[in-house]
C-alpha cells in the first residue's frame, strides 16, 4: 500500500514539474529573446514582463506543487527510489509534453538525448 502511495506521489511530482516546465517555457517564448529585450528596454522591463506573464505565474505554482509532492513522496518512500524515479521520468515526460504542447521538433537526436540523460540521472541519483 505504501508503495502505491509512493508511486502515486512520484507520478504527481512528474506531472506537476512537466506542467511547470512547459508553462515556464511558454512564458519565456512569449517574453522573447531576453538579451535583446534587455538591450532595448533594460533589465527592469525584462523582469517585469517575465513576472507579469500569466504562464510564468502558473508555471511557478506548478513547480511549488511538484515540490510539495516531493515532500509527500519522501515521507512515504526512500529517497533512493523517489529521487531517481522522479528525475528521470520528468525528462521523458518533458520530451513528450514539449512535442505535444510546445510543438517543438523533437527529432530522434533529442529522443536519444532525453533517454540517455534519464538513464544517467537514474544511475547517478539512485
Amino acid at each position: 500500500m505504501k508503495a502505491l502511495y509512493t508511486w502515486g506521489a512520484i507520478l504527481a511530482i512528474v506531472f506537476a514539474s512537466v506542467v511547470g516546465d512547459v508553462l515556464l517555457a511558454r512564458a519565456m517564448r512569449q517574453v522573447g529573446d531576453v538579451g535583446a529585450l534587455r538591450r532595448r528596454s533594460g533589465l527592469g522591463v525584462v523582469i517585469a514582463r517575465t513576472l507579469g506573464n500569466p504562464y510564468f505565474l502558473f508555471g511557478v505554482m506548478a513547480m511549488a506543487v511538484a515540490f510539495f509532492s516531493l515532500l509527500f513522496a519522501l515521507s512515504w518512500g526512500d529517497v533512493s527510489l523517489v529521487a531517481p524515479a522522479a528525475a528521470s521520468l520528468t525528462f521523458i515526460g518533458n520530451a513528450v509534453a514539449a512535442k505535444i504542447f510546445l510543438h517543438e521538433k523533437v527529432d530522434r537526436r533529442r529522443w536519444i538525448a532525453a533517454s540517455l540523460v534519464a538513464a544517467g540521472v537514474a544511475l547517478l541519483a539512485g
Binding site: D21, L24, A25, R29, E104, R110, V117, G120, L124
Partner: protein, 143 residues
Amino acid sequence: MLSHGMKQTGSISVHHLQGVIFAVLNPWVAIGILLLLAFFATYMTALSWADLTYVLPATSLGYVLLALVARFVLHEHVSPMRWLGIALITGGVGFVAGGPSLTEHSHAKGDEPLQEARAIADAAKSPLLAKDARNGAPTGVQS
C-alpha cells in the same frame, strides 16, 4: 528543475549548518537562496533562447558537476554505476548539443543574423554563470 535546484541548494545549506559551519546560519541560507535565484534566472534566460528539450538535457550537466565535485573536492567515493551515469548524461548532452540541432530552434522568428549572433554570444556567457553559481558552494553534496 526548480525543485532540483531547491533540493541542491537546500541540502547544501543544511549540510553546511550541521556538519561544517556551526555559527553562520543566516549567511549560508542567504547564499542558498541567492544561488537558487541565480539558477532560476539563468534557466529562464536559456529558455527564452532555446527549446525546452534543448535546455533540460543541458541543465542535467549539473548532476555531473555535482558528482565530479564530490569526487575531486570532497574526495568522496564515486561508484562505477555512478561513473556510468555520468557517461550517459554526458553522452546525452553531447547528442543534443552537437551536430545540426545546435541552431535548430523551432521558434526561430527570423531575426536578422546580427541579433542572432549577439544572442549566441550572450548565451555562451550564461552556462559559465550557471556553473559559477553551482561552483560557489561546492562542499555539501547530497548523496
